[in-house]
Point group: C2
Chain length 242, copies 2
């Protein structure tokens, strides 16, 4: 039976999602727990490979198992054994050929800012503190230029192959000050694309780049035209749609 | 000059507020930073001594200093030197005899619950996960019995002396499910009083104690009638009023 699991994690203490030798990863923690709970050797498939320090509340994984009990029991067993910074939110049976990455229609990420003069210790793990007053209207206007099918080579490199064209379905600032959120949904993302976009939008928000220059940077398809890449701890994989 | 500072901290990695030998405390971190920034030996006064693991966004401290520059400069210097889990939110001059504990009119604490079947890793540091469905109406009704001047001996011991009578000004459940918040404001609190009250209210919410029995436990003034003390990580000192 193929099982589909929606996974949440605090990425702070992991060297990203994908398994590596000699570094703690979310994939390794999940596979170790699955082996312990099912007594099988299980390799998981995942919708996306989040970077070191990036969080998730809607990562999707799939695996095959001979589990004979209720899937609610599997969810409870996984959550009892998983470390406190990883949880299995939903556990469901999937079609035998379900692939969380290839079958995904789109992914949505959220980047969270804490925009206030003084930093706030209780927000520091899941948001980026920006002391400078941001021009949110300018950032919103620049973000709108991202929507549609574009070559995003300015904002990242492809995880494989050479194609840098992606289709952005949504790119929008929201939230309640001092907490600002940037939601971006696309069919797929380049490596570090969201963080590169956020870092460049922050240049716009701080008046270091105007909206026209942001659009010119994007259409130039030159990596060096992007702003500094925003740090990972403000980023969270929210949802994968099928 | 006496200076009043509103302090926020993530209590996770501290053995409470008050200075101790051989354990990291918020007071020690603040005094070390003040010594470094002002080049004076400074002992601080504080509004309340939060326990190990308890957070704050509105702790108030005061100290005397010969600081000759702008107080905005002092705030910036403190926040540059303080560890990431402590911040000075507001820095103001106070009356020479201002005492953050004795002059306080009331304190407000908030206890946060994450009430959902599955735990949520990104909420785990600042809220208590409760999987059982809670009867919030019953918890609200029981909480109302706390308001007013009562002997709260059931819910804690006095930090000094013998008096266990306190005046509760507000005791109210709120929040948006799955996040529930319990706000309680009182002239002062007994040692572990908020966590003992929350633990007892959770017995009510889970149907293990009815509202009448909660009121009877309170009026009995017997420590053994309280429910288990709720863990510290859901608790935050929100505000001290003067």
């Amino acid at each position: 039976m193929r099982v589909r699991v929606v996974v949440a994690y605090d990425g702070t203490d992991y060297s990203g999602f994908q398994r590596q030798t000699n570094a703690p990863t979310v994939q390794a923690a999940l596979e170790t727990t699955l082996a312990q709970v099912t007594q099988e050797e299980i390799t998981i498939l995942a919708a996306g490979r989040t970077d070191t320090g990036v969080h998730a509340v809607g990562q999707v994984i799939a695996f095959d198992t001979a589990w004979r009990h209720d899937l609610g029991d599997l969810r409870r067993a996984l959550n009892a054994v998983l470390p406190a910074d990883i949880a299995a939110l939903e556990v469901e049976e999937a079609a035998p050929d379900f692939h969380p990455r290839y079958d995904a229609h789109s992914r949505r990420y959220r980047y969270t800012l804490h925009n206030a003069t003084v930093r706030q210790p209780l927000k520091r793990r899941y948001s980026l503190h920006i002391a400078a007053l941001l021009d949110v209207a300018a950032m919103q206007q620049a973000a709108q230029a991202l929507v549609g099918e574009h070559d995003f080579a300015t904002f990242g490199q492809p995880p494989q192959g050479l194609a840098t064209v992606r289709r952005v379905l949504l790119a929008e600032w929201g939230g309640e000050p001092p907490h600002l959120t940037f939601d971006i949904e696309a069919n797929a993302f380049l490596y570090r694309m969201v963080r590169s976009i956020v870092g460049t939008l922050l240049q716009v928000g701080q008046g270091k780049m105007d909206v026209a220059k942001f659009v010119a940077a994007m259409t130039a398809c030159e990596r060096r035209r992007a702003g500094p890449t925003a740090p990972p701890h403000g980023l969270c994989l929210m949802e994968v749609k099928y």
